[in-house]
């Protein structure tokens, strides 16, 4: 019996789905090994994860909170990716957006919500868009490697936030805690069944991006640039304009996530000292983007699913006494299995029985 590999010519949606599910299962298997190694029963672990994340009321809420963040950052990754650009700058754009929205809130704490919140959203989007736009411009004009640039900007944004929220900084907590000042009451996101309205924003953006990419002229140009930059140029498309557009929009979306994370999630409502941990979550938008095969619509269920997995993971930490960061470890393993499975999306495995 031999194994033969054959290049695939077409990949049906079903095949793709099957392979993705398979990769998630393999990640689960690896996770089981880790759980077992810590002396606990893997099956119990999985039951725990799913039941907590999607079964309990609290867990489900947490799933949504994190899921909304993931939707935003996944979309922020997907749009530039379709144009062939890697936006690794979601955390930085998120920080910028958070600073901007907090600034607006602290400056006008007594405006009615109906005015204040949209203002904050616009500020967050603008700030994130500017940061993204810097990388987009550099890429479009001088073809500077956007991976390095966005990462550098992430670090710069991190220190900027530190400046703003540490003692002596403009947003420092007047009560002396190491966090920022609290978000004024009117600036907090209104809740619907305890879920911040940002969920509609996120889902709406997903639908909007889908529509943009498939039906509009600019979406067509973005796709062409991503598939074949030489053809795009030949057809008269401007790489500079397109790079700017996708990075500004992507950055704006990540900026909006800044609003959600720090003014939307109940129980937070300020930029905490450990904001970097939340910011790093933004990186996982990349995994989601890959799972969703760069489709904005698929990003929504993918993000919610992944979010559920990690929320369940944190529950696992507590209930079964496993280490901190289990959810992140799982995401890491998942990333690797998804990547490895790219191979199977391009090659079919054939089992050949001897004698045929």
């Amino acid at each position: 019996m031999r194994i033969k590999l054959e290049r695939r010519i077409t990949l049906t949606r079903l095949d793709w789905f099957r392979l993705t599910v398979l990769s998630i299962i393999i990640a689960f298997i690896i996770l089981s090994i880790i759980i077992a190694q810590a002396g606990k029963n893997p099956l119990a672990g999985f039951k725990e994860i799913f039941s907590y994340a999607f079964g309990t009321r609290y867990g489900l809420l947490l799933t949504f909170y994190r899921g909304i963040l993931l939707i935003f950052t996944t979309l922020a990754f997907i749009l530039p990716r379709r144009a062939g650009i890697w936006n690794i700058g979601a955390p930085g754009q998120l920080y910028f957006g958070a600073l901007a929205m907090l600034g607006v809130a602290l400056a006008f704490p007594n405006l009615p919500s109906i005015v204040l919140i949209p203002l904050m959203l616009i500020a967050a989007a603008l700030a994130g868009g500017i940061l993204g736009g810097i990388a987009g411009f550099l890429k479009g004009w001088w073809d500077v490697n956007e991976i390095v640039v966005t990462l550098m900007l992430n670090n710069i944004a991190y220190w900027l936030v530190m400046y703003f929220i540490m003692e002596g900084g403009p947003f420092a907590d007047p009560f002396g805690t190491p966090d920022s000042a609290t978000v004024p009451a009117l600036a907090k996101a209104p809740l619907i069944f305890n879920v911040p309205f940002t969920i509609f924003l996120a889902i709406g953006l997903g639908i909007f991006l889908y529509f943009l990419l498939t039906k509009t002229k600019i979406g067509y140009k973005i796709r062409t640039l991503g598939q074949n930059p030489a053809s795009a140029r030949y057809a008269g498309m401007s790489a500079l304009k397109l790079s700017l557009v996708v990075m500004i929009i992507g950055g704006a979306i990540a900026g909006l996530a800044g609003y959600h994370e720090f003014a939307g999630v109940p129980g937070v409502y300020k930029i905490t000292r450990k904001f970097a941990e939340r910011g790093d979550l933004a990186y996982y938008g990349i995994i989601c983007g890959l799972i969703a095969a760069q489709s904005p619509l698929a990003a929504i269920p993918a993000a919610l699913f992944i979010s559920g997995m990690t929320v369940g993971g944190t529950a696992l930490q507590r209930r079964l006494g496993l280490g901190y960061g289990l959810d992140l470890l799982f995401l890491g393993v998942l990333m690797l299995t998804i990547i490895a499975f790219e191979f199977f999306k391009r090659h079919k495995v054939l089992w050949i029985i001897k004698g045929d």
Partner: protein, 293 residues
């Protein structure tokens, strides 16, 4: 003042090991953007090993081994499975992010065992080892047959294959050794540079190392110079009072300095004047998967 210089050299050493490893990778045509992840993983594992076993040597070895294993993984994903090299590198980084947080959380705190290697006139011996490594890499790449083969693989693997060179094997070799050097950098960070475990010990320096490789135009001696430059900039960011003429801004703004400088330098080399020279120095097959007929 001497203390300042020594600290600069410390950071230089850190950057140097990580970037010289990546230079070797890229010369063979493999782009590994996950250096930061590689370093993170090796920092955490060497720290934990030393803490648990009390042996510096063991921790050091484990750190290098971690680097090699992750390098091999990256190689497996991008050479054999022909996954896009950027995706693979990012995957390693994201994996390391999660892995490190999970593994090392219970071990936060100081090592409490002094530093590895001691000091020669205050300078860590690793600095000199680093320079030696640069020399060795330079000599191999430009003076030996092996180096010629490596460079050819990075320029045009098809031609190399037809000339009798085993492309995949060479790339694996480079990726493993590159990973080893990256792991060395992480072990150095954990056991000699700063023996306290805290969240995000690398602080983005792995990415600066990546940028360094581009900026050095893949020439080892320029890389050394670049590491020295960025090591100094990094240290200056921590002690900005040493920079003359700068307005006194809050400390946090200075921490941004190394990253801003990186961006500026990357812009400079992308401008028309340097673009051509840089483009010619670039291994032509960098980042492209090698597909055999």
């Amino acid at each position: 003042m001497w203390y300042f210089v020594v600290s600069c050299l410390d950071v230089t050493t850190l950057l140097l090991f990580a970037s010289i490893g990546e230079l070797l990778n890229q010369r063979s045509g493999v782009l590994n953007v996950g250096i930061e992840g590689l370093m993170l993983a090796s920092v955490s594992l060497s720290f934990i090993t030393t803490k648990l076993t009390g042996s510096f040597l063991l921790g050091f070895m484990v750190g290098m081994a971690t680097g090699s294993v992750l390098g091999f993984l990256h190689g497996f994903l991008s050479i054999t499975l022909k996954v896009d090299q950027v995706v693979s590198g990012l995957g390693i980084w994201i994996f390391a992010l999660g892995f490190t947080t999970y593994i090392a959380a219970p071990y936060a705190g100081p090592l409490g065992m002094g530093t590895l290697g001691g000091r020669i006139f205050g300078i860590s011996p690793f600095f000199f080892i680093g320079i030696a490594v640069v020399f060795v890499v330079w000599a191999i790449l430009f003076k030996t047959n092996l180096g010629l083969k490596i460079r050819s693989v990075g320029e045009d693997p098809l031609v190399a294959e037809v000339s009798g060179i085993k492309v995949e094997r060479l790339r694996y070799l480079c990726v493993i050794i590159g990973g080893l050097l990256g792991g060395l950098s992480g072990a150095y960070l954990a056991l000699s540079y700063s023996t306290i475990w805290a969240f995000n010990p690398t602080m983005g320096r792995g990415w600066i190392a990546l940028a360094l490789v581009f900026l050095s135009m893949w020439k080892p001696w320029i890389l050394l110079g670049g590491s020295l430059l960025f090591g100094t900039v990094w240290q200056l960011a921590l002690s900005p009072e040493l920079i003359p003429l700068l307005p006194t801004l809050p400390l946090y703004f200075y921490r941004m300095l190394p990253f801003a400088v990186t961006i500026v330098v990357m812009i400079l080399i992308s401008m028309e004047r340097f673009r051509r020279k840089w483009g010619l120095a670039k291994p032509a097959a960098l980042g492209l998967p090698y597909i055999k007929e």
